[in-house]
């Protein structure tokens, strides 16, 4: 994601330059998002998301340094950073899942539970087989990235459907996080699938162009959505708000009434 994805040294041609230019724009956008986070004091409100942004910012600087200072080590460093980033991107999902049901005490952890359950199931049944039984390192890496993106897209879709079901209004910040990440994932899934089909010879230049474009679009949406903190809107509810303890006791009462009925 990766400010410097477009700068892979094995590339040639004008598309590579365009990719590098877009990657630099993406890097600037990461800086803007971080700067606005500092100015708006949003770090405490979205801790996982900003940790991820700091990771991307520092990782990109590190990659540029390796690219300029130790070019021979760059491909190895790049692919290592790429692999770690695939996993680190799950923190964005963790942040979204924490925010979606924050106002509802009874289901505050539903987002986190959905994220863990879907990621674990897809990780075991869909992503792990590629690592274990794939032929060739390049194919395995491409397939792993593709399947990880599909897994993230499924988690995001499940979170959105659950949020819609429980009438959770997301607010500008969280909706922006979701929209930006969705654009990135959508582009990534299509791009990786095409790369897998057409192979390196035919698709590599387009790949190194499309990936930074997808990420730059995502960052643009994030920068606009997180420009300033917007509290989550509260839907006018027919019932008055309650504290966590009152809701907990009501939940217990509902469960015990149903249990009594079921045991008859």
């Amino acid at each position: 994601m990766h400010g410097v994805r477009g700068a892979c040294p094995s590339l040639v041609g004008s598309m590579q330059n365009a990719g590098v230019a877009i990657s630099l724009c993406a890097f600037v956008l990461v800086g803007i998002v971080l700067l606005r986070g500092i100015v708006g004091k949003c770090f405490k409100l979205f801790p996982l998301f900003y940790s991820y942004m700091i990771y991307v910012f520092c990782g990109s600087i590190l990659m540029y340094l390796v690219y300029w200072l130790e070019r021979q080590a760059y491909p190895t460093a790049f692919w290592l950073y790429y692999l770690v980033t695939i996993l680190v991107e799950f923190t964005v999902l963790a942040e979204i899942s924490d925010q979606v049901f924050r106002l509802f005490p009874a289901i505050r952890n539903l987002g986190r539970a959905l994220t863990i359950a879907i990621s674990a199931a897809f990780g075991l049944l869909y992503m792990l087989p590629v690592v274990l039984w794939s032929t060739g390192r390049a194919a395995a890496l491409l397939d792993f990235a593709l399947r990880a993106s599909v897994t993230k897209a499924v988690v995001l879709a499940a979170l959105l459907i659950a949020a819609r079901h429980y009438g959770s209004e997301l607010g500008k910040n969280v909706a922006g996080l979701m929209l930006g990440f969705s654009i990135y994932l959508g582009v990534n899934v299509a791009n990786l699938a095409a790369a897998k089909l057409y192979g390196r010879a035919l698709y590599s230049e387009i790949y190194w162009m499309m990936t930074p474009i997808g990420y730059a679009l995502c960052l643009l949406v994030w920068a606009v959505a997180l420009w300033e903190y917007a509290p989550m809107p509260r839907r006018i509810s027919p019932v008055a708000g309650r504290d966590s303890e009152a809701v907990a006791l009501e939940l217990t009462r509902f469960n015990s009434e149903l249990s009594k009925l079921l045991h008859k």
Binding site: F104, R108, L160, L185, L262
Partner: protein
């Protein structure tokens, strides 16, 4: 072919996200009130007593065995089945209202994942599963069938309520 499938997944995913991110239409106040009227609070005793009558087979048995009116007993059973379904759906609606209840004073900072909130999530999911199961059984075999053979391992003793109250109290202290 695989690429086309993945491209389809990507496009469908983006359409789904954009569709779901649209603001849901706010409920008309009259509509909300009407929806609320068939989902009374569980705190109301008479509503709970109603469930005892609905799920009690003695009336139907009395009609069928003592008065020898099997047709009338069957018709009563069908009526009770409709009532049982309506009662369970109202219970579910009332529970969903509770789950959608916002906090009184939300702190803007994200809260710690305390054991209390995981326990509340467990109670929510457990209820949803059990009420769906109960509805299925009532729809398939009627209200006078024993709903669960034995779920004794999922007991709800007063002790567990006390421990839950403690966890919820600790949770509310953490959040302030």
């Amino acid at each position: 072919m695989i690429t086309l499938i993945y491209a389809g997944i990507a496009i469908a995913f983006l359409i789904l996200v954009i569709g779901l991110l649209h603001k849901p239409q706010p409920l008309d106040p009259d509509e909300a009130l009407a929806a609320k009227s068939h989902a009374p609070s569980i705190g109301k005793g008479h509503w709970l007593h109603l469930s005892e009558r609905i799920f009690d087979p003695s009336d139907a048995r009395w009609l069928a065995e003592e008065l020898a009116f099997p047709k009338l007993a069957k018709s009563l059973m069908l009526g009770r089945k409709r009532l049982a379904i309506h009662w369970l759906e109202a219970l579910q609606a009332s529970f969903d209202d509770l789950v959608r209840t916002p906090k009184i004073t939300p702190s803007e900072a994200p809260e710690a994942n305390s054991p209390g909130s995981w326990q509340m999530l467990w109670l929510t999911l457990r209820f949803k599963f059990l009420v769906s199961y109960a509805l299925l059984v009532v729809k398939l075999v009627g209200p006078y069938h024993r709903l669960i053979p034995s779920f004794s391992w999922m007991s709800f003793s007063p002790g567990s309520e006390r421990s839950f109250r403690r966890a919820a109290w600790a949770n509310s202290r953490n959040s302030h």
